[in-house]
């Protein structure tokens, strides 16, 4: 088995790859933490409009340190900025946007994704304090639900699995997974491999995946900017 630590994509590269699929004019919600990084890589000429569930649409980047206004934050409680087009609204209206299917894409992290699209990303199920936030709302309602994640856990266990063993965030919701090794779609209850990094042999990728990887047409090379590695 190849040592993936040397070849796998960085988080920035995964985020970059996810950003390439965001359509011009798309309304997008990015989960707290790693998924927020996607906003940095929106391609030139394609404008995405970002929604944060605490009631801001079409906001700008983080302010310079020292210029934070703590009444102007995103769902991760990080400071953001205004830009022309920004609007504010209350929480019920914000989740009307979510639940009503008005978001084109939501991008989240994951503990596990099952081949039927089930997602587990809110609780490891091992005790501790549960905290769900807006994830359960987002995953059932945005038009596309994408996941950005390492292909395997820190221990090396597959995150793409036949069925989730951890508590679910949503059922049958994930449509595409951007991992540190591959781009995988969920289609009709199966994982369909769309892209993989050239350095990993197919057999190794399969052995790092907890369910059958199907193909449907070509598997393209997953190539991301090297400077993001």
């Amino acid at each position: 088995m190849i040592d993936i630590s040397q070849i796998k994509l960085s988080n920035a590269q995964i985020a970059w790859r996810a950003a390439q699929d965001i359509e011009d004019g798309a309304y997008v919600n990015l989960g707290i933490g790693f998924p927020e990084m996607v906003a940095q890589f929106q391609p030139e000429g394609k404008q995405a409009i970002f929604h944060t569930e605490n009631g801001v649409l079409d906001f700008g980047k983080a302010p310079e340190p020292g210029n934070e206004d703590w009444d102007l934050i995103n769902a991760g409680k990080k400071a953001i900025t205004l830009k022309p087009g920004t609007s504010f609204f209350h929480h019920a209206d914000s989740f009307a946007m979510v639940r009503g299917g008005h978001l084109d894409v939501a991008i989240l992290g994951a503990y596990q994704i099952a081949q039927n699209g089930d997602l587990a990303n809110w609780s490891t199920g091992k005790g501790g304090i549960p905290a769900v936030g807006g994830a359960m709302d987002l995953v059932q309602s945005a038009r596309r639900i994408a996941v950005v994640t390492d292909h395997v856990t820190k221990k090396g266990d597959p995150k793409l699995v036949e069925s989730c063993t951890m508590p679910l965030t949503g059922v049958g919701c994930v449509t595409r997974i951007y991992t540190s090794l591959a781009v995988v779609d969920v289609a009709e209850g199966r994982f369909v491999l769309r892209e993989k990094i050239p350095a990993i042999p197919m057999d190794d990728l399969q052995s790092l995946t907890g369910a059958q990887l199907h193909t449907d047409g070509a598997v393209n090379d997953l190539v991301c900017p090297a400077e993001l590695a």
């Binding site: 409009i49 609204f89 009503g100």
Partner: protein, 235 residues
């Protein structure tokens, strides 16, 4: 991204026969008269229209009905100063009518926009309007289950609009417009004034652009009440 369209005709060009069309307004206030007239010119037929009322005189929604283009109307109050167009069509059996209590109509539309397929309301419990609807008891009180209402198209009227579709309204002309904007696959807004992006204070946006697909500037829009006082007829 620029959602602005040059003319009302282009804005409504894609509306197909058989579409369900929500039309904002309460009586004449907030009624998107120019968009309705553009829809009359455009020719789509067999429409289902959702509006609080049923038109007044011979302009706007009344004119759309008069042209025989509305098969079915969902409304709360099909009365007005001059409801003769609707009354005639209804009595001749040319138009079907679903009466919905006004608050239930507003909430069903909001539910459509907010992804709530059904909710319970005390309104209309025990009346003929609730016949056949599921009833459930919560904390000793009976409530009627109502379903969401969605549309293919919403035609709405705003005051200011920007290229991302952020909108404000003018006084009581707000009424059904913001909730209808949420509940349609395609929301088309006429605004009295297009402003540059950033021209609306983020605190004052009533309808965020995510709910608006296309908008067209109609400066000095017609006010249905004034058209009717002038006995206008469209087309």
């Amino acid at each position: 991204m620029d959602k602005t369209i040059q003319t009302a005709a282009e804005a409504v060009a894609q509306i197909p026969d058989g579409a369900t069309v929500m039309i904002g307004g309460f009586g004449g206030s907030g009624a998107p008269v120019e968009l309705i007239h553009a829809l009359i010119d455009q020719g789509a037929r067999h429409l289902t229209v959702v509006n609080n009322n049923a038109g007044n005189g011979h302009v706007g929604l009344a004119a759309l009905i008069e042209q025989g283009r509305v098969d079915r109307l969902i409304c709360s109050f099909p009365r007005s100063a001059d409801p003769s167009v609707f009354v005639e069509a209804y009595k001749a059996g040319r138009i079907a009518l679903e009466i919905v209590p006004q608050g239930t109509l507003a909430e069903r539309i909001r539910a459509g926009g907010a992804g709530i397929p059904a909710f319970y309301t005390p309104t209309a419990y025990g009346t003929e309007v609730a016949e056949g609807k599921p009833v459930e008891i919560f904390e000793g009180r009976a409530y009627v289950q109502e379903r969401w209402l969605k549309a293919d198209v919403a035609l709405i009227k705003g005051e200011l609009g920007d290229s991302h579709g952020n909108l404000t309204y003018r006084m009581a002309a707000r009424n059904f417009n913001p909730v209808m904007a949420m509940a349609a696959t395609t929301t088309i807004a006429q605004v009295s004034r297009l402003v540059p992006l950033g021209g609306i204070d983020p605190e004052h946006v009533i309808t965020p652009g995510i709910f608006v697909n296309r908008l067209v500037e109609i400066a000095n829009p017609a006010q249905e009440e004034e058209l009717n006082r002038a006995e206008a007829v469209y087309p």
